[in-house]
Symmetry: C2
Subunit: 253 residues, 2 copies
């Protein structure tokens, strides 16, 4: 008899950003599976098993969760943000594709969450209010040449660009390279948002022009948004707003 598996997005951190759908799945689960800081965000419940694992263990974690569900358990795999954006939903699909036939009957659902770039954008204003893209800067699973190619094409398309996983201890160089690429193709006044740990007590936001940006402004809890050529910073007494207008020049809004 097969159980079920839900891959749930916990949002960026604050409880007020967890959807009722995800809260209900966590209530119903017999098992919660995930990277340990995300499992730590789930309230402890009597009788509910918790399986916390380390980073970079995504496929093993997915297989473990599927095996539990196939044995009849109700399993929630927790991701930060949205599980479909550089998180566990793809890893579970990969594990399913290459897993035993018995997993074919497990009911799998993805429960969306507030992803980091949208939480960051909301806190800053509306920098993603026009066309944009999202690039994972981790080169664990793709070559750096592809990342750099995408960055150049994204700037050519004049997208605002959300950068996930800009910098970690194991990958200290990538974000410095990213800034170097941007300096080749953008002017120094291009606006950049560094948004760290949005909706948590550690939240910190900073907007700087490219000319003043340096790699140490990002860490593994930061999402970075590079504005498009039209993104602007509106100064006002109640607080500045970073936003990208809906219209391109010459088109009346």
């Amino acid at each position: 008899m097969s159980g079920w598996l839900a891959i749930a997005g916990l949002g960026p951190g604050g409880q007020a950003l967890v959807t009722p759908q995800v809260a209900a799945a966590l209530e119903a689960a017999s098992d919660v599976v995930g990277y340990f800081p995300y499992v730590d965000r789930v309230p402890v419940r009597a009788g509910q098993a918790r399986h916390a694992s380390d980073n970079r263990e995504e496929l093993a974690r997915a297989r473990h969760a599927l095996a539990l569900a196939a044995s009849g358990r109700g399993v929630v795999v927790v991701s930060s943000g949205d599980p479909g954006v550089f998180a566990m939903a793809s890893a579970v699909c990969e594990a399913l594709e290459h897993g035993p036939a018995a997993w074919g009957d497990v009911e799998v659902q993805v429960l969306p969450g507030i992803t980091a770039m949208l939480a960051a954008s909301a806190r800053a204003g509306a920098p993603l209010g026009h066309d944009f893209c999202a690039i994972n800067l981790s080169d664990n699973l793709k070559p750096w040449t592809l990342i750099e190619r995408r960055l150049r094409l994204a700037v050519e398309a004049d997208f605002a660009i959300a950068l996930y996983n800009p910098r970690s201890r194991s990958r200290p160089e990538g974000f410095a390279r990213t800034l170097a690429v941007l300096r080749e193709v953008c002017t120094d006044d291009r606006l950049i948002l560094f948004a760290r740990a949005v909706s948590t007590p550690d939240e910190h936001l900073e907007v700087v022009p490219l000319g003043a940006a340096h790699a140490e402004m990002a860490d593994m809890r930061t999402v970075v948004i590079i504005g498009s050529s039209l993104t602007r910073l509106l100064q006002r007494p109640a607080g500045a707003l970073l936003y990208t207008p809906r219209a391109t020049p010459g088109v009346a809004p």
Copy 2:
């Protein structure tokens, strides 16, 4: 004395996808402002004023909301999905930038929501599990030439591509043109997700290869996701999953 303005995302439709943060703001508001089908989604409360307006009235609606807040009211502007993605947050910033100095003291907050592409992605599997972009196909506020240029660059970058506002009665041609551009630069087996009214009783999802796609598959309640070259459809007894692997070929996950 100034009031406050929150620009809140109601998510794609289902109540279980409205964040507690947004629900609390709607509880606290004296006034709810928005496009009428979105205002209709807010439960009626005694003593709370409702201001519903038509589509394409975004700037006028933003000004109205700011004037109410500046007069001391607590105002929530409601958007479907996330207010920062092709919705009201940028319109409010534009209205502020060009509005009277008295609006400078109004406290403005953007409250994120589950945007259509992430709700659609979750229902289908994980098509946005690798790098992706979001393009608004409406050419009301930008020229078609720019949209087409972005489409071509997005395919060149091998992003998965989420297309918002693919087709409406006033713009019947754009999405057909989009498919024609895609047919020039992608092979016929490129997978496309049409996701209509996700999380509502009218929900309908369909995955077809580009060769079988036609413009009438989309309407104004549809978000379209064009897979990257790596996006695949995993058939399984418990239901198919559309997903983009995390790794590029040759890189071990």
